[in-house]
């Protein structure tokens, strides 16, 4: 089971995505990118991904949250591991007043702040992928 894992990045900042993608590609992941929620959702529906890297603050406000909510409602996609990448931690608190800093949008997710050090990024990606595989194995 060593086929290359396929990741999708949805983030509206192409320069930032380039930085993330280079790190992930170097680590032998296959990486697709989408620069807005609409294309991102279309990609999620048309291909199978092992992990989604999702920006929260896209477009006018927190459009990334909409993706997370849609994922949560989709019976097939709700188990997709999601690594949330966000600009500012407080912004999450400000979008969800009264909630913990890290609201769990989807059943399995982790959160890192921009910019993210390569080591941390790869650790998070790996651990999410591993956890997802273990879940799959258990389900069988």
């Amino acid at each position: 089971m060593s086929e290359r894992k396929r990741l999708l990045i949805i983030d509206d900042d192409p320069e930032f995505v380039a930085g993330i993608k280079a790190i992930l590609t170097r680590a032998k992941y296959e990486v697709d990118t989408a620069y807005n929620p609409k294309d991102g959702w279309a990609a999620l529906k048309s291909k199978d991904y092992d992990l989604l890297l999702l920006d929260i603050m896209m477009g006018r406000g927190a459009e990334g949250v909409m993706i997370a909510r849609k994922l949560n409602k989709d019976p097939k996609l709700r188990n997709l591991p999601v690594l949330i990448i966000t600009g500012i931690r407080e912004q999450i608190a400000f979008l969800f007043p009264g909630q913990a800093v890290h609201p769990h949008f989807v059943p399995v997710d982790e959160l890192v702040e921009k910019p993210v050090e390569p080591k941390l990024l790869l650790e998070k990606v790996e651990s999410l992928l591993k956890a997802a595989e273990e879940r799959k194995a258990k389900a069988k």
């Binding site: 900042d13 320069e15 930032f16 380039a18 930085g19 993330i20 280079a22 790190i23 170097r26 603050m57 600009g87 500012i88 407080e90 912004q91 400000f94 921009k114 910019p115 993210v116 050090e117 390569p118």
Partner: protein
């Protein structure tokens, strides 16, 4: 685009209700009627009318009482009083209580139409003003978040690409080149931190903070803050010791904000300490206040700088070599403590050290928490 209007007439005389309905009803305007104050208030709640005509002299709940209740509950609602006995004094009293205008009985259909038109125009203005004010408030609140996001995004993109580049070149770079990368990274980190802090300063809203206040254990605040600062202290070889009165009453406030304040002050104390120095955190009760002092034996602050360091973004002009900072930490701290109804004071002697003291109100035995 014509919107559908709702006008409520409250009067005990059937004939007034009927004539108002006849004159004012149209495809764009619904007229609701109430024969007494109680029913009128109920309709105000249910229908949220654009305009209310209110008779001052009614049996039961008087017009003046109804007016007061409407104004208390819906300060923006436009109310025009109908005065049966044409006494100017009662009309004046009603206007003082917030009525928009008055209509003396008997009135002609033309007078009624005219005053209705003016009342509805006023209603639109009042609503537009309120909407604009809300928008302005929202903009102020979100301004800091929006601007800091705009500032952070390019920095994050630069940093991320530097990371990627450094990773790709890892085995090709010479040590001095790696040093250059490290320097770029560190300055970018500083800039990102600065934006975060600036965002923090602008987004501390005392009124909002107060909503989360509850009794907070001072011991917990101090131990969390000390834990956060420990790594910094170990690096500088500075000891942090605590001297806490055994039974301190809880403070009334927001725990994470108070931890943030103490972390800021402790970090400063460590930063300005000499190596192998000691920083002491002391907490005692003074009557109805809790006093938490952070005492260092560091470089101290010159007398002439003392008045400035607590000002917004103020920072002592005389800095020991190699120390960097922006003065934002103390500004944030002061705002947080003031939102708690407390104060921060500082005493210092050059070369001997500084003592920062935070005074906070004690949580009362029965805080009015539930509502």
């Amino acid at each position: 685009m014509e919107q559908r209007r709702k006008i409520l007439v409250i009067d005990d005389e059937e004939v007034v209700l009927d004539s108002c309905t006849q004159v004012l009803s149209s495809p764009n305007c619904t007229v609701l009627t109430a024969g007494n104050g109680e029913k009128g208030l109920r309709l105000v709640d249910e229908a949220n009318p654009d305009l209310v005509f209110l008779d001052l002299k009614m049996p039961g709940l008087s017009g003046m009482d109804v007016l007061e209740r409407i104004r208390a509950k819906y300060p923006l609602m436009v109310v025009i009083v109908i005065t049966g006995y044409a006494t100017v004094s009662s009309a004046v009293e009603a206007m003082k209580k917030g009525a928009f205008d008055f209509l003396p009985k008997p009135f002609s259909p033309e007078e009624l139409r005219l005053i209705t038109k003016r009342g509805l125009e006023h209603c639109d203005l009042v609503r537009q003003t309120a909407a604009l004010r809300r928008e302005k408030e929202l903009l102020r609140e979100n301004f800091a978040a929006i601007v800091s996001h705009e500032l952070k995004s390019p920095l994050a993109a630069i940093q991320q690409n530097l990371y990627a580049l450094a990773a790709e070149l890892e085995d090709k770079l010479t040590d001095p080149q790696k040093e250059l990368f490290a320097r770029l990274k560190s300055r970018l980190d500083d800039l990102l931190k600065l934006v975060n802090m600036w965002h923090r300063v602008l987004s501390v809203d005392p009124a909002k903070l107060k909503e989360t206040f509850k009794p907070v254990s001072v011991h917990a605040v101090i131990s969390k803050a000390v834990e956060t600062v420990r790594a910094h202290a170990v690096r500088k070889n500075v000891q942090i010791q605590t001297e806490l009165a055994p039974e301190l009453p809880p403070a009334y406030g927001d725990e994470s904000s108070l931890v943030e304040v103490l972390v800021n002050i402790l970090n400063n104390a460590v930063k300005y300490s000499y190596p192998n120095g000691t920083v002491t955190v002391r907490a005692v009760r003074l009557d109805n206040l809790l006093a938490v002092s952070v005492i260092d034996q560091g470089v101290g602050i010159p007398k002439e700088d003392l008045p400035f360091i607590m000002q917004d973004f103020g920072r002592a002009r005389h800095q020991p070599e190699g120390v960097t900072g922006t003065g934002i930490g103390l500004t944030v701290s002061r705002r947080i403590v003031e939102a708690h109804g407390g104060s921060i004071t500082v005493e210092s002697e050059l070369g001997k050290g500084s003592t920062f003291t935070i005074r906070l109100p004690i949580a009362l035995a029965t805080p009015g928490a539930a509502s």
